[in-house]
Symmetry: C2
Subunit: 488 residues, 2 copies
Amino acid sequence: MSVKEFPSLNEQQLQRLVYEVTQFGLSNGLIMYPPAPYSNYQPVLAPITIYPTPLPRDQFLKSLDIQLIYNKLYANIVSENEWLTNIIKTLSSSDKDFTGKLWDCYLKALNNGIVQDVSLSLTRSDYMYDELSNQIKQVEFNTVSVSFGGLSSKVGKTHQYLNQNGLYSNNGDNISTYYKENEIVISESDEKLATGLYTGVKYYNDKYLNGENKSIVLMIIQPNERNAFDQRAIEYQLSKNHNVITKRVELPNVLSMVKIDKNNSNKLYYQGLEVSVVYYRSAYGPSEFNQPETWDVRINLESSLSIKCPSLLTQLSGSKKIQQLLTKKDILSKFIDNDLEINKITDTFCKIYPLDESNDGLLARKLAFEKPDNFVLKPQREGGGNNIYKDDIPNFLNSIPKSEWEAYILMELIHPKIHNNIILRNGELLNDGIVSELGIFGTYLFNEKTGEILNNNVAGHLLRSKTSSSNEGGVAAGFGCVDNMYLY
Amino acid sequence: MSVKEFPSLNEQQLQRLVYEVTQFGLSNGLIMYPPAPYSNYQPVLAPITIYPTPLPRDQFLKSLDIQLIYNKLYANIVSENEWLTNIIKTLSSSDKDFTGKLWDCYLKALNNGIVQDVSLSLTRSDYMYDELSNQIKQVEFNTVSVSFGGLSSKVGKTHQYLNQNGLYSNNGDNISTYYKENEIVISESDEKLATGLYTGVKYYNDKYLNGENKSIVLMIIQPNERNAFDQRAIEYQLSKNHNVITKRVELPNVLSMVKIDKNNSNKLYYQGLEVSVVYYRSAYGPSEFNQPETWDVRINLESSLSIKCPSLLTQLSGSKKIQQLLTKKDILSKFIDNDLEINKITDTFCKIYPLDESNDGLLARKLAFEKPDNFVLKPQREGGGNNIYKDDIPNFLNSIPKSEWEAYILMELIHPKIHNNIILRNGELLNDGIVSELGIFGTYLFNEKTGEILNNNVAGHLLRSKTSSSNEGGVAAGFGCVDNMYLY
């Protein structure tokens, strides 16, 4: 199949399209809050592309296919407690502010006693489609607070509506569809992430509440969350499909609002309601961990009977260092014993080097200074925004103490295809080349002690796009938005 | 059944409720545009009550039951062309600016030739629950551009969500429902009004397009429509459930955007698309008819082959004068031949007097000056906002020429029950007594010449409420909002 460019519309058709995108999106909750001042009752349309962006169908199917393997892999990593904690301990000394603090929380929780071995993970594996290899390559595997699963479903529905209502028609008839029906695939991530949360709720209810559906999900959010409606979309699915109530509480307020009943198996209560699942949509960034109350929340809740989504160990399993280590076959094969599965996922790996004093590390230190143009330097922690690209790498490394180099990994750059699309943001159109990142959501419920995986699911997709003013390849700074793909 | 007051919540619970109402509403399209400056991408939560408002179940069921009779009645009135046009002609001379202009449009269209006898009507019969008689009493029967059918479904879902998620719980457990499930009834008006439009589309497609589903609905709207999302909700149902495309065009732009093919049965085209149904969400207020282009649109489209929703005659059948005449049994029985049906609807009538020189009219002129406190004076035209209440009636009548009195009807005041509720509007809470108006939607497709009714349906409900700072009874000036009922 050859790839279609987006339809070329005349000025009047384009205006009409923008009007339709906007009102369909607003009417269907494809919204966020604008930057401060934060007004609770006046949102704006979330930044989106007005057309779907091309992605090869086979690569999309592959990304779905391997999600269960990735889920299993990361569950297995967490249940290899000694292996994981040794690595995290080492990392903690070079990345004190983040990995170090999470590790500290874990140690303190351990000391208090961890009574719940079962843990829930809502993940997103992110890929870029690499033009050179014609393959998707993994950017990262996110194990905490993965976002945009709610809005992703809505942007797919928006593009589908536009297509079905002739708004993409450019053959003069104003009615025909431009994309075939099966070329636009709608993510069921809102529904499936809710179902993922429900697996945790149900496990808890069955085990501790005689199957009665009366516990709640406690969603721990950031103050003044601009992306509230992405979270809400999942919450409303959980209410509608599973009759489970979610309560939202801001991270700094948690401890004043909850009670852990030490006389009753460390059950967690929020306003008298028993909490089966603690769902973090916060507590993933270093700045949050600058506040002592964030630590206290993590430590306290970790010792409760509620199922954490994610637990501290599961969150830590997503560090870049682990991703780098998994590129070594001898390590990967510790966690996955099936060669076919190993091959499937290594296909999506980029070359990743440590910057430590191992042989690989020493090689990487050389490459970083000699061929920086092929690389991106990434801190271990998740969250993005702190990557150093190409020419900037040598200067950056020289600017920090050598002892901190180990907190970074050096990753071969992916060469993403640049597509044309139009981003609609704050009522303005950005007509530019964009690069896109595909995310596949997954959910798994597992026992961190025994390694038993109780539930493992793929949970839909996300396409995010950013303007790219150059063809340099890395995720250049730019205006990000929610997108959806047209499969070719 | 006794009526429950809304749950008394503490300050914290109330704040939480407001937060939940707001985000659920925004996430589900319960929105409007704020007043100017008009920004296409930044809506606000529509003004709503945060609790449902009590209404007796038997009266609600009755209002649904009689909607088909009302639909049939008004269809029959239109097909009694001579009777209707005689009345309208007389009215035109006293209400030149509105009835007169609509009548003028009709005469001109008639002169051009009216080729489509089948007409579609989306109506709303409005009632108040009268405390004195314990009955619903009809306020008016609207035959053009009836609104809030889209948002009504969403406010019902909002109240249901709040109830099911324990936000109304006031027994300290924060989880139990306050209303029983069947006490909150959700209006299916978004879906059913769309189905109503589809009956027109389907009739047209079957008759003129060999059953092919390729015509569109042309929705004619006002510029800078603040209530766009109410309209959109219906449009999206039409697309989703019936695969029919709606195009929106602003009233002043219609004639530059459409073409009537005089060589092909006066078929109407919009951007090359054949229009089966012209759906007016505009052209109902006197101020619109001050602009000559409004007339031209009405005249031209009336002569097209498209089915009008409504036709000029159907719109005119909704004038208050007709409503007043129907209170006379000898007139009513011209249109409804079944005594049971007659009794059912006359039960909902208020006493309405003409202000002309008939015996009834002369009596009314006396009452208006002697007992104004029992009455409201209403202009013939629809739309509201120009009613004169009680003590103001004598002065008002004295201020206009006697020749214009005939343009008004005198109506006995309804004594609505005043309920407590809290209106959320622009992020502020108005905690006051409210009065509510129940609207029942209906759709009917009929042949204006033969009187044959091709389709007749009830299409859901609406509850609108307004603050009432006094117990005077009439729809006092106040802040209106969308509401939904709890049935007791």
